[in-house]
Amino acid sequence: MTAPTADAPPPGLRMPGRRGTELALLAGAVLISVCGYIDVGLARQNAVPGDAASYGAGLAALALLGHLAVRFRAPYADPLLLPIAILLNGLGLLLIFRLDLETPADRASPTQLVWSALGVGLFAAVVLLLRDHRTLQRYAYVSVAAGLALMVVPIFFPAVNGAKIWIRVAGFSFQPGEFAKILITVFFAAYLAANRSALAHTGKRMWKLQFPAGRVLGPVVAVWLVSVGVLVLERDLGTSLLFFGVFVVLLYVATGRTGWIAVGLLLAAAGAAAVGVLEPHVHSRVADWLHPFASITAGRGASQLAQSLFAFAAGGLLGTGLGEGHSALIGFAMKSDFILATYGEELGLTGLTALFLLYALLVARGFRAGLALRDPFGRLLAVGLASLLAVQVFVIAGGVMGLIPLTGMAMPFLAQGGSSVVTNWVIVALLVRVSDSARRPLPDTAETGVIAGLGGTRSGASAPPYEEDDLPYGYGYGYGGGGGGDGGSPGGPPDGHAPHGRGAPADHDGVPDDHDDQGSRR
């Protein structure tokens, strides 16, 4: 898009929906998964697996279902989100099928396929039923209540492998805490969107930090503390780390106060130290992280982490090839928490890099949508969901590869675990929804004129009306002027966000640097 003038958008310019691109990418994702499936069969049994066709057909049907939902209800959505999710889920099914060969008595892939189908079904349902993500903002308090309830429920169920995060109903086990991630992220986004200015500009100033009034900060900190408290009780430390990370990121994005990060890190360090000392469970994991081979020296054989490191090392640069590794030596949790080890051993650093790039792309597209959206809730929601994925990948991948202490969590889409797959599909559905809003062209009626006019008055004579990095999206003709605050374009208004936070009366929704909220502020 070559810089159109702000007051006269080219008539008839339509943003391409890119649904055809999405369909082609989906076909590629299904093809890659099926090839991998056949490869496993050839490597292990010297034959194409009998159910390769049905596996491919099933995955293709899921892809098509998702695609149709997007095509009908989110035609402008980012075309990368769904294919990446399908590819990751396809790879996950493939790896679980491959690991099932090591444990013929305990097959997990059929169940995983059912859950994946349920996840894609839920994806379609969210895309079809949730017409506007802002609807969620209204249910912020319902979300948080439901989220906390879901997290508390497992306390009343027996612990499984040391963590009380499961409920078992009719042979199916489910981790309600997984789903609570989304609900609580929705709450964080909604609450912070509504109270941004108050958080940023009211309250006492102490030392170098501007402390918001307790009245404003209270509820969100309370929710966070309760979630983390419950998770610590349930010994689900990975998820508590996840909540913490998302909370700090959103607080930072909402208020722009670097101080929060410092406070957050201090709190995290203190909390981690306390938990590390008090909880023997955590203590042993930290010890294992620092000395992964201590159990070998002590003559007790290799720990799970050591086995995982061996698997990654055996993969080397190019991997042993699908089906040709020995990650089964990891034993317990090889299909869930440690599934990345199989991936790293059989596809090597090359495959692992591709995998991390897929996740990075997914996260980046989430952030992209956040940047492009006009309403603060949507922006925070997109950022929150994207960081949810990013932190989750970091915590689990860093754990099984010895970068950080190990915490039990599921690699999004890849690992065995119904709740996780379903939850991640809902996350992708929400990202599809917000990206659709972000890329949807505004109706070219009077509205455009008004906003274009605003943009025109703002940008003045010299300023380009569009922030450069927003161009690829090319959404919203009236959005242009908003870039001035962040982009530092010469003609834009001075960044009203002063560190001391005085002055700047709540003109728009209270935060001076948010000129880009016009679209929703009507």
């Binding site: 994005v253 055996a314 080397g316 640069l317 991390f356 956040g370 940047l371 010895g402």
Partner: protein
Amino acid sequence: MNRYIRRAGVFCLILLVALLLNAVRVQVFEAERYDDNSANRRGALARYSQPRGDILVDGEPVTGSRDSGGTLRYERTYAEGPLYAPVTGYASQIYGTSLLESAEDDVLSGTDPRLAPFPLWTDISRAQQPGGDVVSTVDAAVQQAAFEGLGGKKGAVAAVQPRTGKILALVSTPSYDPNELSGTERSVADTWNRLNRSGGRPMINRALKQTYPPGSTFKIVTAAAALDHRKVTDLDAATDTPSPYTLPGTSTRLTNEAGDCANASLRHAFEVSCNTVFARLGVDVGLDGMAEAAEKFGFNDADLKVPSTAARSVFDTDMDAAQVALSSIGQYDTTATPLQMAMVAAAVANDGEVRAPYLVDKVTDAHGDTVSATRQKTLHRAMSRGTARHLQEMMTGVVTRGTGTGAAIDGATVGGKTGTAQHGVDNKGTPYAWFVSWAKKDGAADPAVAVAVVVEDAAADRADISGGGSAAPIARAVMRAALR
């Protein structure tokens, strides 16, 4: 807000970059260390995922592989376990490998890069090569004769081909069945513990890895040194040695078991094994000369590999004259492996040249194509050709009219030397009976075999007679087998 969103985005990017860098660390830089970790079972899994290559004797495999269907899938089998155990060693899932199984492990397990037709491509594709075969130099008949000759006695036999250095037999008794050490069953550990606790120490390869005081068989070395140093020029001249002989610098009187040793000629002293003559000759040659002579035969060499490493045979290089005197008759702290003494006999038969002993003729890939063949080589010239001829005469005399008549074979020239080695506290242990010899078929150009036999629990306790009585018949059987 965009600025903060971007920063948050960059933060997430940093997390992923950290993951990638960590992946590079684990999969590239630390990979080798992790691969080599003792607790990493991948090496063992790969190793036992295919049948192991075989060890061949006379062209026939004496080993095999059995599919156990377990995780460590292929188990080693041995056709005649106890007979060839001192050659093959064992290959055990639990206890690893020994002897040839260990020395040629890379070939047998298929990891030797020389087995790959396209090494670089094999590196990339990680294709596993089928195990190659190891063709041993062992002669089944000679090995069998030695094993049967030793029978129930505790002892060892080493036989080499003097001209080439080929090891024709390595036998150690009591032996064990390496079959029982293959696999992962509970019984393997039981067998291992039983074998290790057993008083007969069946898993020691006495022919290669055990040293004994060589006793009078060492007189071959002393005689070679004396002749080469021209301390004796005429085999039949009197040597001007009193009997008993008082060790220099001491009042210890060295006596003889045999008679007629006072002023005996070298030939006579050799044939009836006079201690006094050789002790005095050793003193005459001196420590340096004796050590040099012993080392030229292969003593004090810790690096002898056949390709299994042989134990180091020792001739001390820091002794006073009395100790030199005792060492010159194979006592004090002189020790030798049976293989070393076979090399001594072989050097005499081979006109003074010590050929490097070897147990592996060649190594082939799974198709039988030669991957590498052992090159024969001379280790040292142990003595001059003339000295070797003199020693051949004297050793022949031992068999025709001396202490070793039990080794004589019709139709062949046989040279030998008996020995009885005192050992234990105050020499109270049952002496070791030695017999070292060589044989050459009448009319043949090359000597057929050189043999060293040691019997630990020799029944008779009378000087060299026990060597002649217990060990010589075994040597004779071995030589007969080699002469066929």
